[in-house]
Point group: C2
Chain length 184, copies 2
């Protein structure tokens, strides 16, 4: 879970917002010679942006009592439904976390009645995970907000800017996805 923002501060010994410039100055003194300054600057913005994007989404999902990562798991269950059997191991692999972490996640979701575990007939070590009707109802309730929050990230962009943004995002996503060895 990430930050929250509330007011709890006397307008007093507050640190002024520095903006990006002091960071760039520091970069000039501390980056390796072969580091492309312009790219590093963009990366810094990207990092800040990423932080804020996740905060915004978690903030908008909070009223539903579910985090983005748990919703992610539920969506996985919805999208793979019928196609293939979903096991904790499979989920761990797809989410990039350990089996033990999935166990904890599933415990949490099961406690709320949003998923069920069914022991596999074929291989009795395995568990099949399924979303319940209640889980499906939750997803249905949450998704409109999810999508509108997604869209809201680009609210100030013109039509042309959106076209550009789309291409770029696809490319960046590809670059970083590769760098992670991941795949969604």
């Amino acid at each position: 879970m990430r930050k929250k923002r509330t007011k709890e501060q006397a307008m007093d010994q507050q640190l002024p917002a520095l903006g990006v410039e002091p960071y760039l100055e520091l970069m000039n003194q501390t980056a390796a010679e072969d580091t492309e300054r312009k790219s590093a600057h963009m990366g810094l913005l990207m990092l800040w942006l990423s932080d804020n994007v996740l905060d915004v989404m978690d903030g908008d999902l909070a009223p539903y009592g579910i985090s983005e990562s748990k919703l992610d798991l539920l969506l996985l269950l919805v999208l793979h439904e019928g196609r293939e059997l979903i096991t904790p191991s499979g989920l761990a692999d797809r989410l990039g976390i350990r089996r033990a972490s999935v166990t904890a996640l599933l415990d949490w979701l099961e406690k709320r009645g949003w998923i069920i575990r069914i022991q596999s007939e074929a291989d009795r070590r395995m568990i099949h995970v399924r979303i319940t009707e209640e889980g499906r109802a939750l997803v249905k309730q949450v998704l409109p907000t999810f999508w509108s929050t997604c869209a809201s990230l680009f609210d100030g962009l013109s039509q042309e800017e959106r076209v550009i943004a789309e291409k770029l995002l696809i490319k960046l996503h590809g670059i970083v996805e590769k760098r992670m060895g991941g795949g969604r």
Copy 2:
């Protein structure tokens, strides 16, 4: 702390990577009427990208035994040094977390000798936080990696694409920053 990626999975009951299409199909069924589909699609990519960006950075910083958020705090100390007095309250406000959380962060950093707390003379309730020589040394050691990781996020982009990306990132950062009420 976010995910990690390791192999610990039999090539067996793995969930296939679905890609973005099933998500878009689901969006068509579940987004509100007035949600702009193209933007929502981009937002989804942005969300995935954000997750990956933070993972990449935390992965690259891990060898130094410090997380991005703790490095962030140390950088704040470096950049405000000499200009203004830095208190836990001020830090909490700037980092968008509670004073109690800052206390925990400072305990951790102090235990490693990277910061010190100095009781204020003027107002004995207050604490001034300062980075130590060891803390400065750590920052100096980490920053080259930090910047090169930042830059690496754009490794596959052409020169023109970078120019476009820069404009766009500045704009998006502005949008989301505003949406958060934040300021760095």
